[in-house]
Every structure is written in C-alpha cells, then in structure tokens.
Subunit: 357 residues, 2 copies
C-alpha cells in the first residue's frame, strides 16, 4: 500500500530533534557521495492576473542508506510585489478551497515502489529549521544564550525551535514589520519554548548584542547589516539575499548549505520581460561568489572546519533547499508513520503499472 | 477533484493522430519560448543485486496555452547487461506484483491545482511515436511507401502506428534478434495496420532499399549502419546511439528532437565505479556534437528547413525525451477524460494544503 499523509500527520510524527539527527547522519552520506541531490528547478510562466506567475518547482534526492528517494513538487501561483524597497515573493493559495500545492513523493530505492505521498508544508519548515539548527550546532559558540530574530512566519518558528534544540537559549528578541503579527508570534513562541520572546521595534534592536542572529524572511533584499556584527556572533540566514555581502566578507567563517547556487531556471518569453522577475535574477547574479565557501555537509563530515575560537564571527547561509533534505526527513516521517500506523493506505497499483515505460 | 487514470484509460482516450496534432501545435509554442521544458534528470545509485541500480528520473514541462504543467517521474530498478557487443539497459519490474513505477502528474497553470495522476506507460510510447511521426511528416518524402524497422517492443509498435498516420505506407519489414518475438510482433502489427509486416532475418534485410528506416531498440550501441543509406531515405531513431555517427555525417539533413543532449546526471560514488555505467557515459560523451543540428520544434515552426528534394537523405534523431511532450499529450488525455467522464476522482485536498510551503 502507498501511504497518504497529511500535514497534521507529519506534525505529530516528526520532531525537530529527530529531523536534525536524521539529517546529520545523512549529510555524512552526502559528503561521501553516497547520497544524491538534484538541483532544484523552477519553470516560470505567466498566470492570469497582474504581477502573478505560475511556478513549477521540483527537486529530487536519493539516500540509499535510508532506502528512500524523494521528489518534491511545488505548483504555485506566485505574486512578485515591491514592498518598500524590497521585492517580496509570495505564494498565493489559488487551488480549490484557497489552498497551496506542495507535494512530496517518496519511493523505495530497493524496489522502486511508491511508498508515500504527503504535503510538504510541515516538512518544509522542519527541514529548513533542522538544517539551520545543524549550522548553529557546528558553528555557534557552545555558550550562546541569546537570539535575535527577524521574521515572524512559519520559517521563523522553525528557526527558533531548532536553535533551542542545540543551545541553552535564555533570551530571544524578535522584529518583523507588522506589529500585530510580531506580537502574536512572540506570545506564541514564549508559550512554546518557555523562554521570554520579546517583540522589538526595529531590526537593529533585535540583532545588536546577541549571540545568534537569525534571519527568516521572505525578502529578496538585505535584512542583516554588517554594522550588527560583533565578536563571537553566529549569523544564520534562510535566503541568500538576507545577509549583506559586506557582512559575509567580514565574517571569519562562512558556511553555505549547498553549492547549488541557484535553481535551474526556465523562463517563458513573456515572463523574461517582467521587470520584477528580471530584478530577482539580477539580485542573484551580481553578488559574491559563495561557491568558495565550504558546505555544511563537509563540516558535519569533518572535512571542513567549524568554529575555531570564541571570538570568531561565523555565518551559516542556508542558501538553497535540496531534494536531499526531503529524502532524509521524509524517510523519518515514513518510518514513524508505519511504526505507529498513521495515515491512509492507498492501493499501490494506482501508482504502478504493468507496461514497461 | 483530482483525476486518477490508468493505462487502459489512456489507451482508450488518446489516439496517435490526436497526440501528433496536440504536439505539433505545442512545438510552435516551444519554439517561440512560450512553453517550457526542464531537462530530464537521472539520479543513479546502487540497488540490491548484481548489475542492478536504482534510477530516479524526473522531467518537467509547462504549456500555458494548454493550461498544463507536467512532472513525469520514473522510479526504476535498472539492469545493465552486456548482450553480444551491446550494453543493454532494461527496467526490472520490481515494485509489488512485479510492476514498474512511472507516473505523470498534471497541474493547472491557472490555479496550480493537481489535475491528474496517471501511469506513464501508454503515454510514453505515444509521445515518442508522435514525435517521430512528426519527424516523418516534416522530413520523409511525401511519396514514401516502405518502412524498414529494427525493434519489436512497445516503442517499435508506436513508431509504425505514427509513420502510417502521416504516410501512405504499403510495405513494412521488421528485424529484431529474437525470432519468436519478431514474428509475433509482425503478426500483431499486420492485423493492427492492415499492412503486410514481414519479419526478416537480419537488420540489413530490413533496412536496405526502404523509403523510411526506423530504429526502435533499447540498445546502447549502433543499430543502423552507413552502408544502408540511399538517396531519398529518411532515417528515424529513438535513442542517440542507434545511428552510426558516419551515417549522420553523410546525411544531407539531420534534425534532432532537443538540444538537451544528455540528462542532468547525479551518480552515487559506488555506481560511478561500475564499468557498465561508466561505459554508458563514455558512449554518450565521445560522439559528434549534435547540438549543431536544428531541432524539430524549429522545423515545425518554420524557422528551420525540412526536406528540400526527393533525393536528400534525412534523419530525425529523437535524441532525448522531454517533460514538454508529457505536458502536451497529458493535456490531451486530461481534457478528453473530463469530456468523457473517464477515470476515478480523488479528493483534491489529499494533494493540496492550507500551510504555505
């Protein structure tokens, strides 16, 4: 049988520490060339409506030691809007009942069979958070106690949960532009983490003087500035543009997630003329060549160095997601779902065939 | 609702002439940059058993004018064996009940929703056949009457059906190494096409003196030799290695399917050491640079030339499949299934989510 899971199934099955531990072991496979990841691809074409486009995004990962291959698919209506001096990219829930379309398909590397189909929403944040958390584990000071955070969405939540799983955090300050949303987020996270999460009025107030500075925004522009660097700081980011290039240049040690610097991109001719889409591409192509930095998998495998002293400024740029992350965390979810009998069984022969394709 | 279709649904819904006509119109979009295709990717890692590996193959296509985005996924156990002096690549039906795993997922480019899930087996042959058929339509002599064929599998069948849809064929000769299989194929195709399909004892007997020479094998080696070229011939191939490089050099006009010369390939370190896999890569990397040839989409759109005289030797190399072909033929199948009420409806919310991924 092929297992159909929901986001709430995933939520009850996968904890952040388990995701981090599965990913940590699997990154060693990746560093050794035993696990595979195919660079994300984005096919972008126009959609009905102003400043909207359709995006088909796919990424694949294979981890033979876990017996799992994963394909993650997003089929999105995307809005590109200018907010202040930033370009903001937002997915619009346009599928029936105002829903999003993000799927993870899991297959067995032993016999090829389709093992599971699940939405990617919960796992998406878990895998980003878990990877950033591993960045903190290997790069932040062991005695880091305070966090500054910019962002108040689902990714911001996962960043805090992951950070608190690997460091003994006692204080958190958070900024995001919308006061109401920011305060609600701080109340919720204070309850979740049993740590005082304090809303502040500016990014600088959040970031100055902390041990760990985390960016978790959907911005296509800079959110962390070099003026906020101080000895011993660890800076984490979930999108390449978030950290000012000069801050990266001044950091003592920068580690990136993957040498997949940008997605494989196919743009339809109509969309190639859209100034916001063009703008997005310019932002991505004019900056520092980050491929010279080591990747997290090598730090975990011990072939690249982590933090060397208490005063070093370290930076982890969770620069692009990989199908590999979905294979690792998906394998965990699938195994636990089978152990605990969670999910709905669908006939496997719906998704297999007797014709050789 | 999301539509679940079977191979027999697809078989009853899509005819070769309809597939050719949908593809023909869509290739004009592709040539103009309005439709998109993301190069196929193969992630290959070891599988339990000698000479077996696991392959995760994905490809994407988007055709906004048809409102369809497609992701095709194959999750295969593959055997690489040496047969005579050829390396033969065979998919092993290893999923439960000895089945193959090939899926096509269709999404709406208008609202992102998952429209349909179907096996790829029938469509796989239809799209290859339809594309080769368009190659014949634009490149073979208008008065071509005879076909020579090497191969007797599902792809060989589709090649004949497509050829007979665009030319008034009166005689067909067929060779494949296994006599029993070849004779059964010829009996079946004689019935299907109402044309005498004659089994012959050698590739040369099949190919010499015909108007259209078609290769439809699973060989990783040469099957069509330059000695068999004659004025006015059209040669068709469904795999790059099938046609001897010197035959391509001697042809007056060669058209390829796509400038995607090879798949994006990720090989696990264990597999990179396998001599058969390495061999396959060598075969693909040492030959003629076929990217200098025009692509079929440009010939159909009228920006590259087709056949110019009755004596030219033309060649169409259906060199690599594309997600675009699955988007076009998938759109046709989906539209007809909805019109005729074919298939099983699954709740769309199984495959959508209320969390922004």
């Amino acid at each position: 049988m092929t297992l159909l899971l929901s986001n709430s199934d995933v939520e009850q099955l996968a904890t952040m520490p388990e995701c981090m531990s599965t990913l940590e072991r699997s990154y060693v496979d990746l560093a050794a060339g035993r696990a595979l990841s195919r660079t994300r691809s984005d096919c972008l074409s126009p959609a009905p409506g102003d400043h909207l486009h359709y995006g088909l995004m796919t990424q694949d990962g294979v981890i033979p030691s876990l017996g799992i291959a994963a394909v993650r698919i997003n089929s999105d209506i995307v809005s590109m809007m200018t907010v202040g001096d930033h370009v903001r990219r937002t997915k619009v829930p346009s599928a029936p009942d105002a829903r999003y379309v993000g799927l993870l398909l899991l297959f067995s590397t032993e016999n090829g069979e389709p093992l599971a189909i699940l939405p990617d929403g919960v796992l998406q944040r878990l895998r980003v958070g878990a990877t950033s958390g591993l960045g903190i584990k290997y790069l932040a000071r062991a005695d880091a106690r305070s966090i500054g955070l910019i962002g108040s969405g689902g990714q911001a939540r996962a960043q805090l949960v992951a950070a608190c799983a690997v460091r003994d955090i006692t204080s958190i300050r958070c900024f995001s532009p919308n006061r109401e949303r920011r305060e609600a987020f701080c109340r919720e996270m204070s309850d979740t983490l049993c740590i005082d999460v304090q809303p502040v009025e500016s990014p600088e107030l959040a970031m100055r003087g902390v041990d760990i500075a985390l960016c978790a925004t959907s911005s296509e522009g800079v959110v962390f500035r070099k003026e906020w660097l101080s000895p011993g700081l660890h800076v984490g980011s979930i999108r390449k543009p978030e950290i000012e290039m000069d801050a990266l240049r001044q950091a003592d040690r920068v580690v990136i997630h993957t040498r997949d610097i940008k997605p494989i991109t196919e743009l339809s001719i109509d969309l190639a003329r859209d100034p916001l889409v063009a703008n997005r591409r310019v932002i991505q192509s004019t900056d520092l060549d980050i491929r010279t930095f080591p990747v997290l998998a090598d730090v975990i495998a011990g072939t690249a160095e982590g933090r060397r002293s208490a005063t070093e400024i370290t930076c982890f740029m969770n620069n692009l997601g990989t199908g590999f992350q979905f294979a690792a965390t998906g394998a965990l979810v699938y195994r636990k779902a089978r152990e605990l009998g969670v999910g709905r069984d669908l006939p496997t022969d719906w998704f297999t065939e007797d014709i050789c394709p």
